[in-house]
């Protein structure tokens, strides 16, 4: 199986199948990223918009020390920030709590999810995206730094700050 980087290189040369495979491979991850950052109402549309950006800009991709996913999440993060600047952010998901808890809203999982979402919601969009990339998308500090156009040290520091804010909010 070809790696993401190999597929991206082929796609940049005009290989339709490679581009299609790459988009398909990342659709769910992009959806999950936007689901947590922007909420369920916007997740599908934003994931689609991110894929469209991927298709339009894959020819600019150059293989480097960072994996392809870091490059793609740079596009995804910028798209998210552009969207939040354009309009008031929609509330984060709450309606899926019942589904996950199997109808019992009191269940521990549902309560924890609700609390996690409430805490995420208190963060500014850029910090929220950083937390989602780290804890939900399992990205390294370096990958997040690439996506956000900053340094890994600054990412660590800002993540620490975000967690501290969430901790204070949880205690309030």
């Amino acid at each position: 199986m070809l790696t993401d980087e190999q597929l991206a290189a082929l796609a940049a040369q005009g290989n339709r199948m490679a581009l299609s495979q790459l988009a398909e491979r990342y659709h769910e991850r992009l959806f999950r990223f936007y689901y947590k950052c922007a909420g369920p109402n916007m997740a599908a549309d934003m994931a689609q918009a991110a894929l469209l950006r991927l298709v339009e800009r894959v020819h600019r991709y150059r293989a480097g020390p960072q994996p392809f996913s870091a490059w793609l999440f740079t596009l995804a993060y910028r798209l998210f920030i552009d969207e939040t600047r354009k309009k008031r952010p929609l509330p984060l998901p709450y309606e899926d709590i019942r589904r996950i808890a199997g109808g019992r809203e009191e269940s521990a999982a549902a309560v924890e999810r609700q609390e996690a979402q409430r805490l995420l919601r208190t963060l500014k969009p850029d910090l929220r995206a950083m937390v989602v990339l780290r804890y939900y998308m399992d990205q390294s500090y370096e990958e997040i730094a690439t996506a956000m156009g900053t340094s890994a040290v600054r990412v660590k520091w800002r993540l620490h700050d975000a967690l501290e804010r969430m901790r204070k909010e949880a205690q309030a």
Partner: protein, 112 residues
């Protein structure tokens, strides 16, 4: 439970799956268009590379002629300029052919 643990626990919970098939269906025409454009870009890059490669001997001759002229060696200067003239004539003759190749490449077919 710490905030970090809470986030990790939440991340491990199931999330609704997106409709990838529908998304890919919508994306398909864009993919076709992007692939076509990427092919055109690659072809243009190749042409630019060929043109640059073709210019190199001419530049070398020009540099040789200029240095000979600076040294006052006019016969050497003319010796360098003569093939340059021949190259210019050849390039002018090749221009319509190159233009034809470029145009047929743009239309998505190679007739030469």
């Amino acid at each position: 439970m710490t905030v970090e643990e809470l986030l990790r626990k939440d991340a491990a919970l199931a999330m609704p799956a997106p409709d990838t098939k529908a998304a890919m269906g919508e994306l398909s025409p864009h993919i076709a268009k992007a692939a076509h454009q990427a092919k055109l870009r690659a072809s243009r890059r190749r042409e630019a590379g060929m043109a640059a490669a073709a210019c190199l001997p001419a530049l070398a001759l020009l540099a040789g002629a200029a240095s000979a002229a600076l040294l006052g060696d006019w016969s050497a200067c003319l010796a360098q300029l003569a093939p340059l003239g021949a190259l210019a004539v050849a390039a002018l003759a090749a221009l319509p052919v190159l233009e034809h190749i470029r145009a047929s490449g743009k239309n998505g077919r190679m007739t030469t």
